[in-house]
Symmetry: C2
Subunit: 227 residues, 2 copies
């Protein structure tokens, strides 16, 4: 394992309350924390699912690969998100840390044992699975029918909503990650962002252009023809 234990002083902004439990309320569950270095794998596709994860800090990408290396990222997971929840016993994505990332993890078997007698917990699992489904359904529309500009605009709006909701956006992932999320190439991502900057919809701050973006959400939605 490339993982290593994190100091207990790590931020704990949120608990596993989405599961209707905490370590305090149910001592049979051990909530451990790990950190993963940028680029390291958290688990692989088709591996047995031992844990469920919650992002504490950092960002995680979930992806599938074709045999020749083509990659489709199905989701990015940001702080508070829960991932790795599988109904069958095996993971259906490979996940990696996009940047140095801290996660809290819970043993799958203990989760299932409790779910057996806890209707509220199962309902929470159902709700989370349905949320993931909704995201995937929206993403199918994007991948199947939207233009490159619409995809990039939708991506920025999604990240703005999930990361900050403030119009100032620190993107943790590379152009290649974005491309593999949107079904495009990194060059197309770069060109689209440059074009949005030319139009004044985006501004890059920080002399390194990559990370921080100021966006005009109003103008951006014009580029993403919604439903």
């Amino acid at each position: 394992m490339l993982t290593h234990l994190t100091p207990t002083s790590l931020p704990r902004p949120h608990s596993f309350s989405e599961f209707g439990m905490t370590a305090e309320s149910n001592p049979s569950i051990n909530l451990n924390e790990f950190t993963y270095r940028r680029g390291s794998e958290i688990y692989g596709e088709k591996e047995p699912a031992q844990y469920v994860y919650q992002v504490l800090s950092g960002t995680v990408r979930s992806y599938k690969l074709l045999s020749d290396g083509r990659r489709q990222i199905g989701a990015f997971h940001v702080p508070r998100d829960i991932f790795g929840l599988e109904n069958g016993g095996f993971h259906r994505f490979t996940t990696e840390a996009v940047v140095d990332t801290a996660v809290r993890l819970i043993k799958r078997e203990s989760l299932e044992a409790i779910a057996e007698n806890d209707g509220a917990l199962i309902k929470n699992l159902l709700f989370m699975t349905a949320t993931n489904l909704q995201h995937a359904e929206d993403h199918m529309l994007l991948l199947g029918r939207k233009t490159s500009m619409e995809r990039v605009a939708a991506f920025l709006i999604e990240m703005d909503r999930r990361l900050t909701a403030a119009g100032i956006l620190a993107l943790p992932m590379t152009r290649r990650d974005i491309a593999d999320y949107l079904g495009l190439t990194l060059e197309t991502i770069s060109r689209s962002l440059s074009y949005l900057r030319e139009l004044g919809v985006l501004r890059f701050i920080d002399n390194n252009q990559r990370h921080v973006v100021i966006m005009d959400r109003r103008q951006l939605v014009e580029f993403d023809r919604q439903t």
Copy 2:
């Protein structure tokens, strides 16, 4: 409503046993049957979800529309499939009958009332939602990263598995439906099928080329580069 009641003599090949219940075992649930004429809408996106549906015969398409008419079909539902199950109170797709279709329906509220005290039922709902999620995840990979030939091959393999599992396939949907499912155009679908026929992977029987296809599953998987 464009629907009309079906005669009680309609085939009842399968029950709602996926819900862990039947009308006999739980008389508080009324399982009604309806038929929909080819092309008619079953429910619209964002409508309140009143019913959950099971296909008895025929085929249903679930889709989302962009404002300019671009359409993405998220799934086809064939006999035995359950659709319209929403975690929130509103449908997230529009659904239409691809051909004349008979469905069995169950009131959502009665389902929820029973789920309240029935852990096995909730687990079934979770399982079905997870199955839908898995399909959507695989479809994202197809839409984001596969070539037209790979998509068409994957489509034929999926339909062969779900409709017959026999190598002889009666496709109920049009080229346009297939195109909107695979994120392509109808012309590209037609050309891909013609090409597969030239190669001897497919044969059309029935003088109308549309409906019945004999396929060589072995050869087809060569065209769909899997994971």
